[in-house]
Every structure is written in C-alpha cells, then in structure tokens.
C-alpha cells in the first residue's frame, strides 16, 4: 500500500495503539494490498482518552468495559459494583491500555 496512505492512517490513529505496536503496524500496512484499505477505514477504534473519561464517570457501573467491547468483564464489574470500587479505581489506570489492546485486536484481522 501507498506510503502516503499508510502515513495518513498512522497520523490519524497513532494514539489508538500502543507505541510498541506502531512499527509493526507500519510494516504490515506497507506490505498489504489496497483492497483492504477500505475495510480498515470502516473499523471502529475506541479512543483511549474517551474511554478514560467514561471510566472516571461511569466506571463504577462497568460502562467503560462495555464501551471497549469487554462485555463479560463489564457484567462482572457491574454485578460487583466495580469490585467494591477497587476494580473501578484500578481500571482508571489500565483502561486506556486495554482500549489500545482492543483496537490492536480489531486491526490484527487485516494485518
């Protein structure tokens, strides 16, 4: 795929992935054929900053986990009231990374 297109994608999406994955993504995108370009654009990546906001305000109800697609964990979080809020606090710190992880999984199917 076009270097320009790859760079465009990376500029727009750098925050959505962990730094150590960016190099790998760049490589794979270069080698990928153009037909997948459209499909990649339809992917719905969750921004870590938005997720963090959701976690701070509605983390006690597990909404942040539901947002990034972790339905099972979301239910567990909801049922235990954010693990007596301990889990809710822990998630404030790890939810951004979890969001990046989920984004990477979504992208992986095309890489």
């Amino acid at each position: 795929m076009d270097t320009q297109k790859v760079d465009m994608f990376l500029m727009a999406n750098a925050k959505n992935f962990k730094p150590q994955h960016i190099t790998y993504i760049r490589e794979r995108l270069h080698q990928m054929d153009d037909s997948k370009w459209n499909m990649i654009h339809t992917l719905d990546f969750k921004e870590p900053s938005t997720t963090l906001l959701i976690s701070i305000f509605a983390g006690g109800l597990g909404i942040d986990r539901f947002y990034i697609g972790d339905t099972g964990l979301g239910i567990a979080k909801l049922l235990t009231c954010g693990g007596a809020y301990i889990w809710a606090i822990v998630d404030w710190f790890i939810i951004s990374d979890a969001a990046r992880e989920k984004n990477m999984e979504k992208l992986q199917q095309f890489l």
Binding site: L61, T71, I75, L79, C81, A84
Partner: protein, 133 residues
C-alpha cells in the same frame, strides 16, 4: 483474553468473593457499605443488597434472597458453579469454560440481547431504589 488469564482472574475474584462472604457471615453486626457509589451519591447501585441476598441464599431462604436483589442469587449460583467448572477444566485439560465465556460474550453483545439485558438491569435498579436499600 487468554484462557490462563481468564481462569486466574476468575479464581482471584472468587477467592475475594468467598473471603468477603465468609467475613460478612461471621460478623453480622459489622455492616460495612462496600459500595462507593452509595457513599458518594447516596443512591444505591444496581448491585446493592447482593451481600444480604447471598447470605439469605446460604441460609436457605431463596424467596427473600430474590426479593432483596435477584442479582445476588445469580452471584451465589455463579460463585458455587465456577470453582467446580474451573477445577474440572484444569483436571480434564479442557477449555469448556473459556469457550462458554466467549460464546456468552458474543451472545450478549448482540443488539437485541444487550438491550433486553440493559433494560432488566435498569428495572432492577429502579426497584432497588424504591425499596430503599
């Protein structure tokens, strides 16, 4: 999520849950409101009354347990079932729980199921607030 990580998380959660229930069981007078949500906003959260419900369930009062918070009965059943399932999977070297977890996640993520589920939780929550837990 990898299988080992899921089982480890579940085991830790179950241990914590059992410890908490055992503590509440042995100290009925020590009523500690574990819910931050309630301390901060004054409104009970959707999981309010779970401990009381599980304790009632342990005493054998199924109907009162349901009345306090139906989710508590769900929790009690999960806490009883999951350790057995995890041990079975570990001993038999199978992945049945892991597989079931992923299927359940996919099912609940479907729009109609998710909406029904969310509605049930909200209705239960309104009921909890009306009960004044």
């Amino acid at each position: 999520m990898k299988k080992d990580r899921l089982y480890l998380l579940l085991s830790l959660g179950l241990l914590g849950g059992y410890a908490y229930i055992a503590y509440s069981f042995c100290n009925p007078e020590a009523h500690v409101t574990a819910c931050f949500f309630k301390s901060v906003t004054g409104i009970p959260c959707p999981a309010c009354g779970n401990t009381r419900s599980v304790l009632a369930f342990l005493r054998g009062d199924l109907y009162p347990a349901l009345l306090i918070n139906p989710l508590g009965v769900v929790m009690a059943m999960l806490m009883a079932l999951l350790p057995v399932w995890i041990v079975y999977d570990t001993v038999a070297k199978k992945e049945t729980l892991y597989y079931f977890y992923h299927k359940a996640e996919k099912t609940i993520a479907l729009k109609p199921v998710a909406i029904i589920f969310a509605l049930l939780i909200v209705i239960n929550w309104i009921w909890i607030i009306k009960k004044g837990l």
